[in-house]
């Protein structure tokens, strides 16, 4: 069963001759436990695709099903709830709260949502991500790579069914970038998440199950990478 489905989704900005079709008619579906890469040049519509899939913006037309629930039927408040329950975002720039230490970044979610990871699960996650010694540190005191790993922990902490990552490795050197991809893969398989990673870096696609390429708003499935 598909966890995430986009049916005939289109997104355009502006009208008349200034109209930009950021996303042309797109059909897409992803299963649980799939790690999917979306590559493509700058301005091709990757972020647009990802934010529409995550319910952060509404398409001009078409439907998005998250766990069979149509986002088009929901208002912003309800979509916010879906994001909280079903979706984890990992962004290019760190999405951590500056005045919360690593532990409290997670705890914040406990204030607004039930059924997050247990203490043991969180400890295992910290262990996996190699950040268990950083729990009391504030974002400003972390390196870029550490921050990105904390961001991943934060996205996974709420046990989302869908994990959306926009250039999660952009601020990292290639060594660290591989590490992060390795982690994403591990978590995807372990927790049966549906993970979509947008990236410029074609070397990272070898970690993924499927690779899509975005060109001028058109999303196309590419040949599976040889390895894997």
């Amino acid at each position: 069963m598909a966890i995430l489905e986009l049916n005939n989704v289109k997104k355009s900005f502006g009208t008349g001759h200034k109209q930009v079709d950021a996303l042309k008619e797109t059909n897409f579906s992803a299963e649980a436990g799939e790690l999917i890469a979306v590559i493509g040049p700058s301005g091709s519509g990757k972020s647009t695709f990802l934010t529409i899939a995550g319910g952060l913006q509404t398409p001009t037309s078409g439907g998005i099903l998250v766990n069979n629930q149509d986002l088009a039927d929901l208002n912003e408040k309800q979509r916010s709830k879906i994001r909280l329950k079903e979706i984890g975002f990992i962004l290019q720039a760190s999405n951590l709260i500056p005045f919360l230490n690593v532990d409290n970044q997670m705890k914040l979610l406990d204030n607004v949502k039930k059924d997050n990871m247990t203490k043991d699960e969180l400890n295992a996650l910290y262990e996996n991500l190699g950040i268990k010694d950083l729990r009391k540190k504030y974002p400003a005191d972390l390196s870029g790579g550490e921050r990105q790993r904390v961001a991943i922990a934060k996205a996974l902490y709420s046990k989302p069914s869908i994990l959306l990552a926009d250039e999660p490795t952009a601020s990292l050197d290639s060594e660290k970038a591989y590490e992060v991809m390795e982690l994403l893969k591990k978590e995807t398989k372990q927790n049966k998440t549906t993970t979509i990673v947008v990236t410029h870096d074609t070397r990272l696609i070898e970690y993924c199950d499927k690779v899509y390429e975005m060109t001028d708003g058109v999303l196309e499935l590419k040949e599976k990478p040889s390895k894997n």
Partner: protein, 369 residues
């Protein structure tokens, strides 16, 4: 502090609020400091308002009366009113007390002070309790407000009055009693008559200034005499010279400070909120609701305002204790508590701006892409 911090972070609403305050101590201490200063000023002004008011009305409040009867033509002014002792009989269904009043300068040779002389009947309810010395027993003996002690007057002092040759002797003191800013001397009606009219006045011609009435119900106190006017005590006080003007001025300043503190908090929090737009956007993208974020901001404002007001309150009382007696401040705790609550409420109103800003943040813009 640790205990406070634990109990605060344990509470959902205070989680963001308190963690942010902890991490940005200087910033929030500044806001709290401003709130503290504003509340300090409000409390002090309210103390001044109460002090100045009691300077005017203290003696009247001691009557615990419902109304006062003055002549119509006096226009609610006690010294301008003049009625005969017999007119009291018209109100005999109520508890009444006659009152003669005049202002004079009294001196004991060294100290000089504006005083208000009350001529009363010692059997009636205006008669004050004596806290030191004894009751006046004969003519020219008076009980004095003990505020006169601070002005250098003592038990047994012979007082010369500005308007007459008569001399008065202080035989006792009573609790602070002032009328229109002048300390009160209480004496027999005969003493008052002698001071006012000199020796030769006939007993049946005695003139008093007003009749003070205690009664359950103002509407039951009526007169058929068209020359007389029954005035509610509060109205009487409001018509004391300068009283209303003073009260209005100070209250106006206090109300203004309420508005100012609301605006200050609004500006401070708004600036802070604008700085945090992308952070709020990230949280909203994550699915954290407007409601939770708004409540956090309100909770934070409440915390800052509460601490600021409490510290301001304490500072007011502390500095009040060190003020010279001549400064007419008197702190009325219930009024101060009400003002404190109002300050906290207006501060929270100031946070509404920030809440509106947060609600309008588009998470998409905040996270970029």
């Amino acid at each position: 502090m640790l205990l406070l911090s634990n109990s605060l972070t344990g509470c959902d609403l205070m989680f963001l609020a308190w963690n942010e305050i902890k991490k940005n101590k200087l910033r929030f201490t500044l806001i709290m400091g401003v709130l503290m200063l504003v509340s300090y000023l409000v409390f002090f002004l309210s103390g001044l308002a109460t002090g100045l008011a009691s300077l005017n009305r203290e003696a009247v409040d001691k009557w615990d009366a419902t109304a006062i009867v003055l002549t119509e033509e006096s226009d609610k002014s006690l010294p301008q009113s003049s009625l005969t002792n017999e007119e009291v009989d018209a109100f005999k269904d109520n508890e009444t007390a006659i009152l003669g009043q005049l202002n004079a300068i009294a001196t004991n040779g060294d100290a000089k002070q504006n005083i208000s002389l009350f001529g009363i009947d010692p059997e009636e309810f205006i008669m004050p309790d004596v806290t030191e010395g004894e009751k006046f027993a004969g003519i020219n003996e008076v009980i004095a407000s003990d505020t006169l002690k601070e002005d250098g007057f003592e038990l047994g002092d012979e007082l010369e009055l500005s308007s007459t040759e008569e001399k008065l002797t202080i035989v006792g003191f009573t609790d602070s009693a002032r009328f229109n800013a002048a300390p009160v001397l209480y004496g027999e009606l005969a003493t008052f008559q002698k001071v006012k009219f000199g020796e030769g006045v006939a007993e049946d011609e005695t003139q008093i200034n007003g009749i003070v009435i205690r009664g359950d119900d103002l509407s039951s106190i009526t007169t058929s005499n068209e020359d007389l006017e029954v005035i509610e005590v509060e109205t009487f006080i409001e018509n004391l010279p300068g009283y209303t003007e003073q009260a209005l001025t100070l209250n106006f300043m206090i109300y203004f400070l309420f508005a100012i503190s609301s605006v200050i908090v609004a500006i401070f929090l708004y600036v802070l909120t604008v700085q945090k737009i992308s952070m709020f956007g990230v949280m909203k993208a994550q699915g954290i609701s407007n409601g939770y974020l708004s409540r956090s901001v309100i909770a934070q404002t409440f915390l800052l305002a509460f601490i600021g007001v409490v510290v301001g309150f304490a500072l007011t009382l502390i500095s009040g204790a060190f003020l010279p007696a001549a400064v007419p401040v008197s702190f009325d705790i219930p009024t101060m508590i009400i003002y404190g609550v109002i300050l906290i409420i207006v501060a929270i109103l100031g946070a509404v701006f920030s809440v509106l800003t947060i609600v309008k943040i588009d998470p998409l813009k905040a996270i970029g892409g």
